[in-house]
């Protein structure tokens, strides 16, 4: 197999090295998509695309960074396809309207006030429990399905900007905000079940 000569001589990437990156790529893909088979397919497509374009790898970035970049494009293309095949209902911002209505009913009274006030979470950014909080969130992300899950993943995990997400998924700005809000409501509810809270 041909070995690529990188700009940085310390960084090389050969075709036979690619399978070793599969677990890392699968972990990243699994954070983004809920379906394990889809994540596998995306990783497979990434490795095939990488193999085809391995001659263009110059070692400017670490091999894993280069491969994650290809995977990100695969994920965005996948979301575009899904959105094209199952667009949101006209005027609606959720593909799980029943679940959202149920969630909103449990959170808010008819006058718009909170039924149960959010708890004060101990701050994981400053605590030794950072790892535990991340594990809880990772588990909760797996249950965040539908368009709100996709929007949240693109914005907060992949760190795309809102404008780009709206363009990729064909969303209006207001649909975007509604989907992000619902994703946060669902996630906080899930996280609260698994995270130590300081009630006050």
């Amino acid at each position: 197999m041909a070995e690529i000569r990188p700009t940085n001589p310390a960084t090389t990437l050969a075709a036979e090295d690619l399978p070793a990156f599969r677990p890392a790529l699968l972990r990243y893909a699994s954070l983004q998509v809920r379906d394990a088979a889809v994540a596998e397919d995306l990783v497979q497509n990434t490795l095939v695309a990488a193999l085809k374009s391995i001659a263009s790898y110059r070692g400017d970035a670490a091999p894993q960074t280069w491969l994650i970049g290809i995977l990100k494009r695969q994920i965005i293309d996948h979301y575009r396809r899904v959105t094209r095949e199952a667009p949101l209902p006209a005027g609606g911002a959720s593909d799980d309207a029943e679940g959202d209505a149920d969630l909103l009913e449990r959170l808010f009274a008819s006058n718009g006030h909170w039924v149960t006030k959010p708890s004060v979470w101990s701050d994981p950014e400053e605590s030794l429990q950072q790892e535990a909080f991340l594990a809880v969130l990772e588990a909760c992300l797996k249950g965040l399905a539908g368009q709100s899950g996709r929007v949240f993943a693109l914005r907060e995990i992949m760190e795309l900007d809102a404008e780009e997400i709206c363009k990729d998924l064909g969303l209006s700005r207001s649909n975007y905000w509604v989907l992000m809000h619902r994703a946060r409501l669902r996630l906080r509810q899930c996280v609260e079940r698994g995270w130590t809270v300081e009630r006050s």
């Binding site: 894993q64 979470w121 992300l141 995990i157 996280v191």
Partner: protein
């Protein structure tokens, strides 16, 4: 967090937060979720897990 909101909306949100303790808590939780989601993404990119 929602810096993309139009100015008028942002002012309305700020005013509401000033009088709504539960909403301030929710906003803080949302910031924590953002931090944690980004941390998960960055760790996965680097190949380190929680």
């Amino acid at each position: 967090m929602d810096s993309g909101l139009p100015l008028g909306e942002r002012i309305r949100v700020r005013l509401h937060l000033a009088i709504c303790q539960a909403c301030r808590r929710f906003a803080r939780q949302a910031r924590t979720l953002r931090w944690a989601a980004r941390e998960l993404g960055r760790r996965a990119e680097k190949g380190t897990g929680p």
